[in-house]
Subunit: 187 residues, 2 copies
DNA sequence: GTCTATACGAAGATAGAC
DNA sequence: GTCTATCTTCGTATAGAC
């Protein structure tokens, strides 16, 4: 399949971004990890590395969006629990070596389009989580702020856990944010 | 002053880490931005780049620690407000181009000592903020989790603001976390 | 669509003079 | 302590053959 090779490289790039950051995600690493043929790199990505990273960000954004789409109609605390669980899985499955590819690109972006794309995806997550929280029992006037807080806390919690090489910080953050959503539901 | 040059390089490195990340913080950049003499690099940092980055992390950690030390005896919500204000200042003064150097190193660390050092400093912040919250009216059994949540949310909020090129996400996170601390004080 | 070879630049690190 | 020169490695990107 023609698109298979490209998709393979994109997915591999997303993983490497989440693990090692933007600069350390080189073509050589992507090729080695994905097993993709060397000669076809600029055939699939004529725009060079930026095009590959852009595609990887999109893939990472879509993965989370897919999970969120499956949560329509669920109570707000379950929505929060699932979002929290998404990042818990990233940490545990990688033995605390991986994080969020969007965050990695944001803090090391060397070109405007990369930063913009990360911002768009973060905004899309925030909007979607906010809608789900509102539909799940959180007052509408709090839903956006609460969604932003949940996403920020998870992102920060993932970083703290990686630095500590322990899930403890993440679980502390998760507990607080979940309680926060629950209290907003009853309030 | 002999130590002046070294300190200058360390401070400059901390700023560059916060702005552009670990790999993009090269010796050439540090020298250009700090005005330090080129030839003295490996004289001051025989351990190479890792030693420079390690020192920069320490400096960043100390800066926050100094602010926290001045908050002893203050109410918990004021402690939270000051910690939130610390990162708000980083964002606004840099026109949303700078973040946390510890976070930047954590997500792009290519050596164990770097990750370990970031973890130590995050842990020190968490401990100190937890003590201040407890002394300031937050129940002791909640203080550590709340401190972790506050730090994680601020770190994540800074990233969201940078990606969005807007303070809005950060202020949303700040409002939620501050309300959370206040409710823990009365509860 | 995939290959090899290669140009080009950046970055870390070292050596030896002053 | 500071300088210049140099080495090595690595990463992006291009050219041209198959």
């Amino acid at each position: 399949m023609a698109a298979g090779v490209r998709q393979q490289m994109v997915d591999t790039a997303a993983v490497l971004l989440a693990k090692h950051g933007l600069q350390a995600t080189s073509f050589a690493e992507v090729l080695k990890a994905s097993g993709a043929p060397r000669g076809s790199l600029y055939h699939h990505f004529p725009g060079g590395k930026d095009e590959l990273v852009l595609a990887a960000l999109g893939a990472a954004g879509d993965r989370a969006a897919t999970v969120l789409d499956g949560l329509a109609g669920q109570p707000a605390d379950l929505v929060a629990e699932r979002f929290i669980g998404l990042w818990r899985a990233v940490l545990t499955r990688s033995d605390l070596t991986a994080g969020c590819s969007l965050l990695a690109v944001t803090v090391a972006a060397d070109s405007e389009p990369l930063l913009d794309r990360a911002g768009e995806i973060f905004a899309a997550w925030t909007e979607r989580v906010g809608e789900l929280l509102a539909a799940g029992g959180v007052p509408a006037e709090q839903s956006t702020a609460l969604a932003t807080s949940l996403i920020a806390a998870c992102e920060g919690g993932v970083v703290l856990a990686r630095a500590a090489r322990s899930m403890a910080p993440y679980e502390a953050v998760a507990g607080v944010q979940l309680a926060l959503v629950r209290s907003a539901m009853s309030g």
